[in-house]
């Protein structure tokens, strides 16, 4: 099976499941929109993380089945949300004191492009899509660990490049890239493939990656 024939139906689950293994019990974590929000459901029961929502929650919970506080407790998209018992509502100043001040253990977010130096582009496609950076620039600068969780390619085109061509979100901020094809560490010398999807060959991953890719001598199967 090659990259093009990889079963794409559970692609997001593959990524989210693997990212979940990066989190430790007690971690304070900020999850970006989309794929990253799937991560908590794959956490082992003995790993409890506290979720931050930059809108103003420490200990954010899931979307409520019955909305107890309509329009007063929302997520970053303005949709109904909830807070866990023992959580705290905070203002935006405190929210970014947490984020910029290095108090967030890990942030998981998507990317348009990542490159060999760990540069990240995920907020603008000039002339096409200008939504604004929201809290992303602060998150990737401030979080102790930045994990990019994304599909390896975009309509067959590599997103992992020697050098980002889109405007950057931040310089050298990415620590780890998790895709459906494998797990890639950002090292001082460049990118290192440490785990691979068992349905793929190394050549598949290399072919789908525009950046030079070292292969770990202890390459393992991605779980």
């Amino acid at each position: 099976m090659t990259a093009t024939t990889l079963d794409r139906s559970n692609l997001k689950e593959i990524v989210a499941r693997r990212v979940a293994r990066e989190l430790r019990d007690g971690d304070f974590v900020n999850l970006g929109i989309g794929l990253p929000t799937l991560v908590p459901q794959f956490l082992p029961t003995d790993v409890r993380v506290t979720l931050q929502a930059e809108v103003g929650m420490v200990g954010a919970g899931p979307c409520p089945e019955v909305d107890a506080a309509p329009r007063y407790v929302v997520d970053a998209g303005g949709k109904p949300a909830s807070i866990r018992i023992g959580g705290a509502f905070i203002d935006s100043v405190t929210s970014f004191t947490l984020i910029r001040g290095g108090h967030v253990d890990a942030t998981v977010l998507g990317a348009l492009q990542v490159d060999s130096e760990g540069n990240l582009a995920n907020w603008i496609i000039p002339g096409k899509m200008v939504p604004g950076m929201g809290g992303a620039m602060d998150l990737v600068v401030g979080a102790k660990r930045v994990i990019v969780a994304m599909e390896h390619t975009q309509r067959g085109e590599p997103k992992i490049l020697p050098r980002c061509t889109l405007p950057l979100t931040a310089l050298g901020c990415v620590n780890l890239i998790v895709t459906e094809m494998g797990v890639i560490e950002v090292q001082p010398y460049g990118l290192l493939l440490t785990e691979i999807n068992p349905d793929l060959e190394v050549a598949d991953v290399v072919a789908a990656t525009a950046a030079p890719l070292r292969i770990s001598s202890s390459l393992t199967v991605m779980l």
């Binding site: 103003g56 007063y72 939504p131 809290g135 620039m137 950057l168």
Partner: protein, 218 residues
Amino acid sequence: MSKLISVEDAVANISDGMSIMAGGFMGCGNAHNLVQAIIDAGLKDLTMISNDASMPGYGIAKLVEQRRVRKLITSHVGLNPQVAVQMNAGELEVELVPQGTLVERIRSGGAGLGGVLTPTGIGTLVADGKPVITVDGREYLLEKPLRADVALISGYRVDKNGNIWYRGDARNFNPVMATAADVVIVEADHLVELGDIPAEDVVTPGVFVDYIVTGGSL
């Protein structure tokens, strides 16, 4: 000297071309009645400072939809499609600011500081034209303080001194914006008696607040 006034009298503090800070995050924490009153008063050419442009038909999104906004200083406009339309047509100027930088610029304006030294934005488009200051070997952007003519604050419980308690995450930018405008107007969901908010639980002390209007609700 009561701070309690009508929504119409409150909005009479605003003129065409003024800068307005509006608390809220995707409309959660917008002062909805004050926004409507601004529209009803025919005010225009406003500079809006807010985390985002809310969502279609809700809160401050209406100011954009009704073409009352000349300039937006904000971190995210992706959920309000009208912004892109007007921006691409050259009718609306948008200054995008990282969210953490936006909140600190406002804080700086309210706290009498000369600006913010932040690592956020270094090496990106955000850094264009801004001074870079090196402190202990690390580079920081110098981002300038932000203040506004008027701040529109949404509070859940407000007493007659203007003390505010916020519900849920409707808090967001409201407390910091209440520090950084010449005229601060709070829209109260519930007007309460002095002492009903314990002194320890007041989030925004009333001395920041100039006027109170009632009838708020998200």
